[in-house]
C-alpha cells in the first residue's frame, strides 16, 4: 500500500522535477540563467554608465570588489571618483551621501549588512526620508541604500536582523525587497532612477542563486514599478504573501500543499513600502485565507501590517484567522539547529496553510 502510494507520489514528483521557479509563466521562454549577484552588478553597471551622477559608496565596494562581490569590476570601469571606498564610518558617509543627494547627485550607499545601517539610521530617517516633507518639496533626496538584510548562515544575533518592518514604517522612504534575478535587476534600476530615498533590502543567501531571465529583463531599459507585488503562483484556496528569501520557501510550500489538494496563491511582495494592498486584498477576496510569511521578528512586523490591512478592507471575505509566520521572537542564536528553529522553514508554512484550511493541526508554537 505504501509502495503504491510512494510510486504515485514519485510519478507525480517526476512531473514536478523542474526548477521551482519555472512557475514563472509570464515570460514566454526562459532563455538565460543569471545569479542575483550578476543581476545586481549589471543593474549598477548600466545605471552608472547611463547617468554620470550615479556613484557608489560604501565599505569595500572598490578595491575589494565588494564585500559580497556585488560591485565587482565597477572600480576598474568607472574609477575611484565614482566608486568610493569609505572608512568605517556609517553615520559619516551616509550623511555625506544624503548631502550629495540634496544637490542632485545619485548616490548608491552600500551597507555591508543592514545591521550596520543602525549606526546611520539617523541620516536615513531624519535627513533623507523627512527632507522632502520638511522643505515642502524643495529638496528631494534621490538616494539608494542597499545591502544584505536578514539572516545569513550562522552569523549570530548582531548580523542577522531583518529591517523591513522598521524602515517600512517610516513615511518618506520607499522600501524594496527583491527575490529573484528579475526582481533584483528591475527593482534596483527603478530605485536608482527614483527621486526619493529607497531602502533596498537584498539577501545574502540569494546572491549565488540562479534564476532564468528573459531577454526583456536583460534589456538596459528594463525597470519594474515600485509599489506593485507579483503573483508568482496563482491559486484559489489560500494566499501566501512573502518577500525576499521567503518567496522561495513559499513556492516550495505551495508545491507540497498542491499534493494535499490545497492550491495556494503565492504573492511576492517586492515592495514593502508602499505595500501593494490592492493585490493582496484582491487575492484574499478570491481565496478567503491568508498566510503571511517573513523572516523578521513577529511583533510589529510586515505580517502584522498585512493582517491589519486585510482585516480593515476584506474582513467579511476571510474564512479563517490570518496565519502569521515570522522569525522566532529571540535574537538569532548561533547553534545551527537553534538557528534553523529561529527562521521560518517550508514545513512551518505548510502547517500554517493547513491550519488555515482545515484547522486540523493544533496551534502549536510556530517558528
Amino acid at each position: 500500500m505504501l509502495a503504491i502510494a510512494r510510486q504515485r507520489m514519485l510519478g507525480q514528483s517526476f512531473k514536478k522535477i523542474l526548477p521551482a521557479v519555472s512557475v514563472l509563466r509570464s515570460y514566454s521562454s526562459a532563455a538565460k540563467q543569471i545569479t542575483v549577484r550578476e543581476a545586481l552588478n549589471s543593474a549598477l553597471d548600466e545605471e552608472m554608465s547611463a547617468d554620470p551622477k550615479v556613484f557608489l559608496m560604501g565599505e569595500e565596494v572598490g578595491e575589494y570588489q565588494g564585500a559580497y562581490k556585488i560591485t565587482k569590476g565597477l572600480l576598474e570601469k568607472y574609477g575611484p571618483e565614482r566608486v568610493l571606498d569609505t572608512p568605517i564610518t556609517e553615520a559619516g558617509f551616509t550623511g555625506i551621501g544624503v548631502g550629495a543627494a540634496y544637490y542632485g547627485l545619485k548616490p548608491v550607499v552600500e551597507f555591508m549588512t543592514f545591521n550596520f545601517s543602525m549606526q546611520a539610521i539617523d541620516h536615513i530617517i531624519n535627513s533623507a526620508a523627512k527632507s522632502n516633507y520638511m522643505s515642502a518639496g524643495q529638496i528631494s533626496v534621490p538616494i539608494v541604500f542597499r545591502g544584505p538584510n536578514g539572516a545569513a548562515a550562522g552569523v549570530g544575533a548582531q548580523h542577522s536582523q531583518c529591517y523591513a518592518a522598521w524602515y517600512a514604517s517610516c513615511p518618506g522612504l520607499k522600501v524594496l525587497s527583491p527575490y529573484n534575478s528579475e526582481d533584483a535587476r528591475g527593482l534596483l534600476k527603478a530605485a536608482i532612477r527614483d527621486p526619493d530615498p529607497v531602502v533596498f533590502l537584498e539577501n545574502e543567501l540569494l546572491y549565488g542563486e540562479s534564476f532564468p531571465v528573459s531577454d526583456e529583463v536583460l534589456d538596459s531599459s528594463f525597470c519594474l514599478p515600485i509599489g506593485k507585488a507579483k503573483i508568482e503562483r496563482e491559486g484559489k484556496d489560500a494566499t501566501i504573501t512573502a518577500f525576499s528569501k521567503m518567496v522561495g520557501y513559499a513556492l516550495k510550500a505551495a508545491e507540497m500543499l498542491e499534493k494535499d489538494g490545497i492550491c495556494a496563491e503565492v504573492i511576492n511582495l517586492r515592495s514593502i513600502r508602499p505595500l501593494d494592498r490592492a493585490t493582496i486584498n484582491a487575492s484574499v477576496r478570491k481565496t478567503n485565507r491568508l498566510i503571511t510569511v517573513e523572516e523578521g521578528f513577529p511583533q510589529h512586523g510586515v505580517g502584522a501590517e498585512i493582517c491589519a490591512s486585510v482585516v480593515e478592507e476584506s474582513f467579511s471575505y476571510l474564512d479563517a484567522p490570518v496565519e502569521r509566520i515570522a522569525g522566532a521572537d529571540v535574537p538569532m542564536p548561533y547553534a545551527a539547529n537553534l538557528e534553523r528553529m529561529a527562521v521560518p522553514q517550508v514545513e512551518d508554512i505548510v502547517r500554517a496553510a493547513k491550519r488555515a484550511c482545515y484547522r486540523s493541526v493544533p496551534l502549536a508554537a510556530t517558528a
Partner: protein, 432 residues
C-alpha cells in the same frame, strides 16, 4: 577691537593669512603653546567671575597678526579692514538678526510661535562674518539655531517669520518649523534638530561640488559649503568622522564651531576632555583656527582665508569662534546655571555695539546713517510679522503633500501621466 588688528589664534604654522602663500598639507602641523590658558583653568568648574574676566584680557592679547593686516597697516591711507558699503552691509545684517530674534521672543510669549525656538542673540558676528562672504550657490548647513543663518543667506524675513508662525507662506510652507529652515533657492540646506546631523550633510554638499568639478567636468564649479555647529557637537562621533573624510578627500568645506561655552545647561568645560576645539583640526590634517567670535571684522578676516582655501581646492578648515548667546538655549530654558557675571562680561562685548563703535570712530558712517538702518530694519521686521499674521494656515490637504517627490516612482511620462500607470510599463519594454 584694536583698530585694524586682527587677533586670531592659529593652531598650525603653515596656515598663513597671506593669500600668496597657500598652506601646504605636507608641512608638519604643530600645535603651538597658547599664550594663556583658554577659558581659564579647567580645575575651576564653578565659573567664578574672576576667571571669566581673564577672558577679556586674553582676547586682547594679540597672539598672531596676519601679514595682510601688517601690510595694510603700513599703507597709512588704507588701514581699515572694510569699506563703508561693506561696513553698512555688515551692520544691517547683524541688526536684522538681532531685531528678528527679539521679535521672535515677543511673538513666542504672545503665543504666535510655538514648540522649540532657539535664538541667536549675541552670536550675530559669526553668521554675518562668514555668510556675507558667500555667493548664492555656496551652501550653508546649520543646526536648530538657524533663523539668523537663513536671514544672512538671503531668505526673506517674511518667509522665515511665516514659517515660524506655521503659515503656508513660510519658506517650507509651514511644514518645517523653527528648526528646519530649508531654501533651495538660497542653498540653505537646513536646519537640523540633531546636533552633528548637519555636519555629514554639509560634507556631502562639499563632496558634490568637488564631484561636479572633477567627474561631471563643470570646470567653474567652486562652490564652498559652511557647516555651523556648536561646542557640544564637537564631542559627537559624526564630527570626527567628517573631519577625517573632508581632509582625506580634500573637500571644499569650512567647519565653523560656534563655541558659546554652553550646551543647554552643560558647560563646555564639564563635557570636554580638551576644551580647545581648534586643536582637533590638525589631528585630522587640516588647519584649526581660533577667533574672537564677538568681533565681526576678525571673523570676516579668518573667514576670507578659510573660504578662499576651500575655493582654491586646498581642502577643509576648522574655525572655532568664541562667542556667547545672550538668551537661554531656547525660549523654554530658564537659564539658571549661567553666572550673571559671565553674561555681563559678554554683554559688554556685544558685536553690534563693537561694530558701531568701529564705524563711527573710523568715520565710515555717521550716527544718522546707522539710525536710519535701525529704523529700516524695524520696519522690515514689523512688515514680516504683519505678513505672517495675515498669511493663511496650511489647508488640510497639505498634510499629505510632499512626502515623496514622486509617489509612484519613475516620474511623469511624456503623455503627462505617471509612467507606472502605463500598461506597457510592466512588460519591461517601456523606455524610461
Amino acid at each position: 577691537m584694536n583698530g585694524a588688528s586682527c587677533a586670531a589664534k592659529i593652531s598650525t604654522q603653515p596656515f598663513s593669512l597671506n593669500p600668496t602663500s597657500p598652506a601646504s598639507h605636507d608641512r608638519p602641523l604643530v600645535s603651538p603653546k597658547p599664550a594663556s590658558l583658554f577659558l581659564g583653568s579647567t580645575r575651576k568648574l564653578r565659573l567664578s567671575s574672576s576667571s571669566k574676566l581673564n577672558l577679556h584680557r586674553r582676547s586682547g592679547t594679540v597672539v598672531a597678526v596676519s601679514d595682510v593686516v601688517k601690510q595694510k597697516k603700513s599703507k597709512s591711507t588704507h588701514s581699515l579692514l572694510i569699506t563703508k558699503e561693506e561696513g553698512l552691509e555688515l551692520y544691517e545684517d547683524m541688526i536684522l538678526g538681532r531685531a528678528f530674534e527679539d521679535m521672535c521672543a515677543q511673538m513666542y510669549y504672545r503665543g504666535k510661535m510655538f514648540g522649540f525656538v532657539h535664538l541667536y542673540n549675541g552670536q550675530e558676528a559669526v553668521s554675518t562674518g562668514f555668510i556675507k562672504l558667500l555667493k548664492q550657490q555656496d551652501s550653508v548647513v546649520s543646526t536648530y539655531r538657524d533663523h539668523v543663518h537663513a536671514l544672512s543667506k538671503g531668505v526673506p524675513a517674511r518667509a522665515v517669520m511665516s514659517e515660524l508662525f506655521g503659515k503656508t507662506t513660510g519658506c517650507c510652507r509651514g511644514q518645517g518649523g523653527s528648526m528646519h529652515m530649508f531654501s533651495r533657492e538660497h542653498n540653505l540646506l537646513g536646519g537640523f534638530a540633531f546636533i552633528g546631523e548637519g555636519i555629514p550633510v554639509a560634507t556631502g554638499a562639499a563632496f558634490t561640488s568637488k564631484y561636479k568639478r572633477e567627474v561631471l567636468k563643470e570646470a567653474d564649479c567652486d562652490h564652498v559649503t559652511l557647516a555651523f555647529f556648536g561646542d557640544g557637537t564637537c564631542n559627537n562621533g559624526q564630527f570626527f568622522e567628517c573631519l577625517n573624510m573632508a581632509a582625506l578627500w580634500k573637500l571644499p568645506i569650512v567647519f565653523v564651531v560656534e563655541n558659546n561655552l554652553w550646551a543647554i545647561g552643560m558647560s563646555h568645560l564639564r563635557a570636554t576632555s580638551d576644551p580647545q576645539i581648534y586643536k582637533k583640526g590638525p589631528a585630522f590634517g587640516m588647519p584649526g583656527i581660533h577667533v574672537d567670535g564677538m568681533d565681526v571684522l576678525k571673523v570676516r578676516e579668518v573667514a576670507k582665508e578659510a573660504i578662499g582655501r576651500a575655493r582654491r581646492g586646498e581642502g577643509p578648515t576648522l574655525v572655532e569662534c568664541e562667542t556667547y548667546r545672550f538668551r537661554g538655549h531656547s525660549l523654554a530654558d530658564p537659564d539658571e546655571l549661567r553666572d550673571p557675571a559671565e553674561k555681563a562680561h559678554y554683554a559688554a562685548r556685544d558685536p553690534i555695539t563693537a561694530l558701531k563703535k568701529y564705524l563711527i570712530e573710523n568715520s565710515l558712517a555717521s550716527e544718522a546713517d546707522l539710525k536710519a538702518i535701525d529704523k529700516k530694519i524695524d520696519e522690515v521686521v514689523e512688515d514680516a510679522v504683519e505678513f505672517a499674521d495675515e498669511s493663511p494656515v496650511p489647508s488640510q490637504s497639505q498634510l499629505l503633500e510632499n512626502v515623496f517627490a514622486d509617489p509612484k516612482g519613475f516620474g511623469i511620462g511624456p503623455d503627462g501621466r505617471y509612467r507606472c500607470e502605463d500598461p506597457k510599463f510592466t512588460e519591461g519594454t517601456a523606455h524610461v
